[in-house]
Chain length 466, copies 2
Amino acid sequence: MTADLAEPRSDEAVSCILRRRMAEKIDTLIEARWVIAVDPDDTVLDHHSIAIRDGKIIALLPTGEGAKKYQATETIELPEHALIPGLVNAHTHAPMSLFRGLADDMPLMQWLNEHIWPAESKWVNEEFVRDGTRLAVAEMLKSGTTCFSDMYFFADVTARTCIEIGMRAVVGLIVVDFPTVWAQSWEEYIHKGTKLHDDLRHIDLVTTAFAPHAPYSVSDAPFEKIRVVNNELNIPVHMHVHETAHEVEEAVAKTGMRPLQRLARLDLLNLNLVAVHMTALLPEEIESLAKVNASVVHCPESNMKLASGFCPVKALLNAGVNVAIGTDGAASNNDLDMLDELRAAALLAKVVAHDATAVPAHTALRMATLNGARALHLDEHVGSLEPGKLADIVAIDLSVISSQPVYDPLSQIVYTATREQVSDVWIAGKRLLDHRQLVTLDEESILQKACEWRDRIAAYDEKSKS
Amino acid sequence: MTADLAEPRSDEAVSCILRRRMAEKIDTLIEARWVIAVDPDDTVLDHHSIAIRDGKIIALLPTGEGAKKYQATETIELPEHALIPGLVNAHTHAPMSLFRGLADDMPLMQWLNEHIWPAESKWVNEEFVRDGTRLAVAEMLKSGTTCFSDMYFFADVTARTCIEIGMRAVVGLIVVDFPTVWAQSWEEYIHKGTKLHDDLRHIDLVTTAFAPHAPYSVSDAPFEKIRVVNNELNIPVHMHVHETAHEVEEAVAKTGMRPLQRLARLDLLNLNLVAVHMTALLPEEIESLAKVNASVVHCPESNMKLASGFCPVKALLNAGVNVAIGTDGAASNNDLDMLDELRAAALLAKVVAHDATAVPAHTALRMATLNGARALHLDEHVGSLEPGKLADIVAIDLSVISSQPVYDPLSQIVYTATREQVSDVWIAGKRLLDHRQLVTLDEESILQKACEWRDRIAAYDEKSKS
């Protein structure tokens, strides 16, 4: 080896050294078979690389050029993988993953009254929320989700847990008319919520949304207070709206108004509104959502499982409404798998609209990434693979039997890929899933905690039924 | 060690030796965390074992007892797995897996006229069918399917390929009015079909069904011939029927009859009928199917993706119709994953019926196993884990994050499991998937062939579009 050093350097070697000296230093260079940036367009880039520095994407470029232009601390080769923006789960109740499969195949009210609500009032505390969030985030990272919008008690614990893990989240500041373990009055809900918002104001990774539960469970007074406070905060208002036709009918009987009509009267139908579920919509309601740039979160599997109804996704998109995708909680799905969910969205929209061209693959991917980011007011920072945005990136391995042959990688991601094909995940440039291994979470201890909660909860659920 | 042999034997050691001498010899003992037999009932058996001899299940028993009673050549411990009957894919076009994702998100007729039919007329030959079947069977085994009912050209090649692999199949004897690469006239289709049936008469693994394509593509004369020949053969008649409302309307306009009505007039509405898709059904049609014990194959993902319509699954089941599940071909799904498909069936049925209790988890699993076997006339031999039946068994690993906690293993299989949780598969007692490794197929060579076909087909598809 010493002899080599003494030898005169060839022109090529000199040029190589010069190139290295001139090369820009970056943290990570990911060389992939395909890159699907989503924005500015859905083009599938062949043999492209993503350059990352200080947590941000600084360039997308052909792989040959990337190796010349940059000197990366770490270069990662993914020769059979597609890179997509991290998936954004725009509606979930993360800690409820501890109730996954506790009660299936029953009518909504029996499910709530006999199982979910008793279980919640018995079990939900800070420890439950921490363990449930860790289980949920582990599942989400392993299925390509890099950001989720949550609605649950102890949002402070969810926020803290996500910061520890390095997971991006929008925690919902719950408001509901009745007292719970989290607060006793609507004033207290709003007070605790705004305090949490304030505590998180210097944190990039975790932001907030107001999360009034639903029009049927929140009175005018708290809604009015939210509107006033939100004139200053200007954060999303994340809410279940028109989940079922029954909810709409009941509202009309009680208030003389459809729920969306009441929200409009309360001046909450605006671009901060993130309306979840949205079955049972009139054409003029779709127009009114489009007019104010409100967002809709479609949860196809929950809507199917609870027999809630069909969200008119094609009509919403055609009207120009921003439609995102959410899994809902694991108790009504039963997973937090956004790849599964975006496929369900693409498939269901077609048969509901009687149109096989409705929600094509690229639209489904956009709904599950950029549209989610937009609903959460995060689209300046995430939702697509563009220079200047944070490096929230997911690698999907398309070399498996069930995704072959690959005529169109985007189509294969939407119509064939399962969560196990997610090999690597980065959030703000930090690799949180590395060859399917969680980096900042201990999977064994999460599984252990899940077993412990199951034993306690199952014993109580059995007892309460008998 | 020699010293030990010389020592006087303890009572316990003697009793152990006696037990071993008295123990019944078997080939395989699978000790699982859970066993879900499906028949005689859906009970989840805790810590049970399955004893296998000569390809058949000889007993299901608590794991402690199994180890005492049997002396097995091979004992397999699956401490976090559920055993279920092998999944039965009741409708597919296996070789079309080579067209997976070739043309998505387009209307049915554009998809057929501009892509699928030109591709088929250009590419389908014996080599295509062999390579496509191998790719499809690899995918099916890796997702827990142990039997499939196929409808495609060169059924002889499909049969031979399945025999080589050890895969159970029911190959469709295609009949259609127009000439194809397989036959020139309906007489030739039926002649080749009955000859293949005859060639396979001593083969247990591969059986046959008539496969007239659909009422709109088969005239009365071939249908009448099928009926006459089938008086003797008595095999299933596997056919696309009422795939869309449009098909029904067109039939009424042309023939004055709804397709099912025409089949009844042709005396083909009987217990051999395996009617695939079946959207657009009148209540009296559902009654007529139930009355004669005909079977329906529900293909939820294909029906959604092609915007075909909703099969009234709950109404069919309530009427007593045997409803099985199929994936359809990979060109309209785009996978052959029965776990994914049975979840889609369970979810979709609920929202279509406005009833969250429709198609509960145990019904979905039964549809995907025993009901499929019944439709294919195989329920005496497979479809449930019962002593006397063939050992077609699938192990599903429920220890993964996304299936935790496990309150109800059956529910977690239906609502959370993905194909990658299928760890092991046995067909007639032979292990064809061993810790996710295919035993009788070379995955590398299948992938290589898929790439070669893609390159050829994609180049032609591009050229034919320009």
